[in-house]
């Protein structure tokens, strides 16, 4: 990765050389760069490489944002404001998905009438759907917010969101719809929470360097964390990152067992996650790589497990509910965890059994939980390093 940077540096530098009269100055500059490169490669050896992998919409980027908030400088006001267009785009996209979804359901369903918008909301819906399809979204004004709220409260839309699992409605829909008023304010600065909820489909690769201990870098390990896109087309790019990885953080959204993929609506998300997990486990590069499995989106799982039986997903079809309430959630969670464990041991060849495998229950939106989880991850990895070095 660094090579790209260095190459570019080199490019820039050699080109400047050609037409700069101040040669001496250039030379010192070149020496400077060389020293920097040396330092960086030296430092590189101590940096642990972490990969965030997982299917699309499994919460990789949310974890990534949390890391930025927790162990880096966080977001300053300018950066927070960068998220305004994202949040606005999320609002417009959500309302478009819901509107178009209700229209589709009204055409195809038996009880079509409950998906029909009321007369006064029909025009609003068409208008908002048109806006949602534009290249450039207008600023979210008070008037638009009123329209969106009217449409959101329409029984047909509320009825549609109950079928959200068929429609690719983002998880943030409820949160954003409830906070619309705030977003239209001229002086609106997104809160940390808003930023965490904001949904961007990642494309390509993003990286960050951090140390879980905080400012004092000497005491803690230094990690370089890579975040990637999770959709099928993005996965072919992962392979470029597979070398020299200390640990893979595999995110699996356990609440997605009744949803279909964004990129292929014929495929259940949980089945895809299972296959993807197994594919990653079998990668020859990861022979000695630790695996941290984050069973993510526990907050949504908690609510869903009681309403939607786990066995709608083919992988969990042998699931039997035992009780109700909190106990049942625990039971469901343990079942899912066991499934992933089985899958891990099935896909781990006997010569790789000594690699580390840990499962964590996470909610990427929950800052405290993520912090705690990362402390644990850090501890595990450090212990592993000592073990490797023969000190333990």
């Amino acid at each position: 990765m660094l090579c790209v940077v260095l190459e570019n540096m080199g490019l820039l530098c050699s080109r400047n050389k050609g037409y700069n009269q101040a040669d001496d100055e250039e030379n010192t500059q070149t020496a400077d760069i060389e020293r920097r490169i040396e330092q960086e490669t030296k430092a590189d050896k101590h940096i642990q490489k972490l990969l965030l992998l997982g299917a699309g919409d499994s919460g990789k980027s949310t974890i990534f944002k949390q890391i930025k908030l927790l162990f880096q400088t966080g977001f300053d006001e300018a950066e927070l404001k960068n998220y305004i267009p994202v949040i606005h785009a999320n609002v417009y996209q959500t309302i478009k998905v819901l509107h178009d979804g209700s229209k589709e359901l009204a055409q195809s369903e038996l009880e079509a009438s409950k998906y029909l918008l009321s007369a006064e909301n029909k025009d609003i819906g068409e208008k908002l759907s048109e806006i949602g399809g534009r290249l450039d979204y207008p600023h979210l004004t008070k008037d638009l917010v009123q329209d969106i709220e009217a449409l959101w409260k329409d029984p047909a839309i509320q009825e549609t969101i109950l079928r959200g699992n068929e429609l690719q409605v983002p998880d943030c829909a409820h949160y954003f719809m409830e906070n619309l008023q705030r977003f239209s304010d001229i002086n609106y600065v997104p809160s940390k929470e808003d930023v965490l909820f904001a949904r961007i489909r990642t494309t390509g690769v993003v990286e960050i360097q951090f140390s879980p201990v905080g400012e004092n870098k000497k005491s803690g390990e230094v990690y370089r964390l890579f975040d990637v896109g999770g959709q099928r087309n993005e996965r072919r790019k992962w392979i470029h990152l597979f070398e020299g990885v200390t640990a893979v953080i595999f995110c699996a959204a356990i609440s997605e067992y009744d949803q279909t993929l964004f990129e292929d609506e014929r495929k259940n998300r949980m089945m895809e996650t299972k296959e993807l997990f197994e594919w990653v486990l079998k990668q020859p590069c990861f022979e000695k790589t630790s695996f941290m499995l984050f069973l993510n989106k526990f907050d949504i799982f908690e609510q869903k497990a009681l309403k939607v039986p786990l066995n709608v997903c083919e992988w969990f079809k042998d699931y039997q509910p035992v009780s109700t309430g909190k106990q049942e959630i625990e039971h469901a969670y343990e079942f899912v965890k066991k499934k992933f464990e089985e899958s891990y041991f099935q896909c781990t060849a006997p010569d790789r059994v000594d690699r580390v495998f840990k499962i964590y229950r996470t909610t990427a939106l929950d800052q405290k939980l993520v912090k705690k989880t990362f402390k644990l991850v850090d501890e595990t990895l450090r212990r592993r390093n000592l073990f490797e070095a023969g000190l333990l």
Binding site: M1, V4, V5, N8, M9, L12, C13, N16, G18, Y19, N20, E25, Q29, D32, I33, R36, T73, A78, E79, N82, P85, V86, A89, Q93, G133, R134, L135, D136, Q168, I200, R201, T202, T203, G204, V205, V206, E207, I208, G229, Q231, R232, N233, E234, K237, H240, T260, L261, F262, E263, D264, E265, R266
Partner: protein, 464 residues
Amino acid sequence: MAACASKGGCPSDYVALSIAVVSMILLLLKATLPYLIHKIPRPKGSSFWLVAIQVLASFNLLLSIIALNFLKFRKRHWWRSCYLWAVWIEGPLGFGLLLSCRITQIFQLYYIFVKRRLPPIRSYIFLSLILLPWIASAAFIHIRKPLNYRCHMGTVWIIPVMGLHALYVVALIAFTGAVRHVEFRFHELKDLWRGILVSAASIGIWVAAYVMNEVREDISWLEIASRFLLLVMTSVLVLAFFSFSISQPLISLMSLRKKDHKEYKTMSQALGIHDSGIHLQREPISIIDPDEPLDKLLLNRRFRQSFMEFADSCLAGESVHFYDEVQQFDKIPIQDPVRRIYMARHIIEKYIAAGAPREVNISHRIRQEILSSNDLSHADLFKNTLGELMQLMKLNLAKDYWSSMYFMKLKEEVNMRTVDHELEHASGWNFSPRLSSVHCSDDPFQHEHSPRNSACHSHNSKLQ
């Protein structure tokens, strides 16, 4: 002469055999050389396996003819069974398969260019469907066992069998007739007709020889001549059949006719879209304002190139490349549907189809919308995709681009009077998490550069 007629080993037999071998080698070379020499990546999907099957079918056909004439059939060895060679390998695995592949290809062309939509049926399903009559008749013959000891069938059987052969030739010609008024870009039609002419002529002679070979067993010179003709014509047929290119414009252009044509790097160049791409011309450099929306900025060629390099470096380039090619697509006038369809098909194969080499990150719905489109030349074919990808680029890449080396480089090239202001602006983004970017604040060049920038630029422009 009479001896070699029945035992084999006449000089003409050796000539025919060597012609067959040479034609087989030529066929293999023709199929693989373009890929080996020019290092073109192997095409995926039907365009690969249809060709591969054709090569196999040609090979089978030749082999069966050789076996038919030069192999002593015995009942004991199953692999020397007459029915294996004369019926199965010649029919469903040879001639039938070869023609079915061709018909499948023309059927695809017909759908794409005449009906202007993607074929409604997967090509392998279509292929197996039209191969069914061959399999059925082969099975029928196998059960009825009408062949004599020399593996020839009587007149009663010859007529329906030849009828089946002819029927497929007619079907091929009929489909070709249906696409004849399409003005193909890459002389596919001319090739097609030429191929059909050669193969129809050779099939004529071939059928005559075949019939003679089957019916007249008593005249020795006729037998030798007919079997010579049969094998030679089969070789010619197989070669001629393979030589005419169907719907592989880029590959045939880039490889086989390199002498007559310039080498085309992109589809748009091959289609002769002028003013195409970012590769050709320099346009007057204009000021780039990060506050402008990305879709406006991308119209600027210099900006687009720089942005593309940046996106490529963080492994997210396919969206920008897609944008670039759709721009070319939009430049083709709507009155020229054939070129539009070529471009559309190229874009679909490269970016849209599931598993495409540079598949873009779009939703299932939008992908299905395009794949089931009723008119591939439609102006709004890629509109929704472009919208979705523009959002993706805006939210994902744009922000990081402004703090990347690529933007720095672009800015350096562009003589901006407001450079100081811009740098201030840029260093506001003190962190860019993309792989390719460097912290602005600790960019070693930044501080030295700003005061010298004008001097630097004058050199730049001289070089340009």
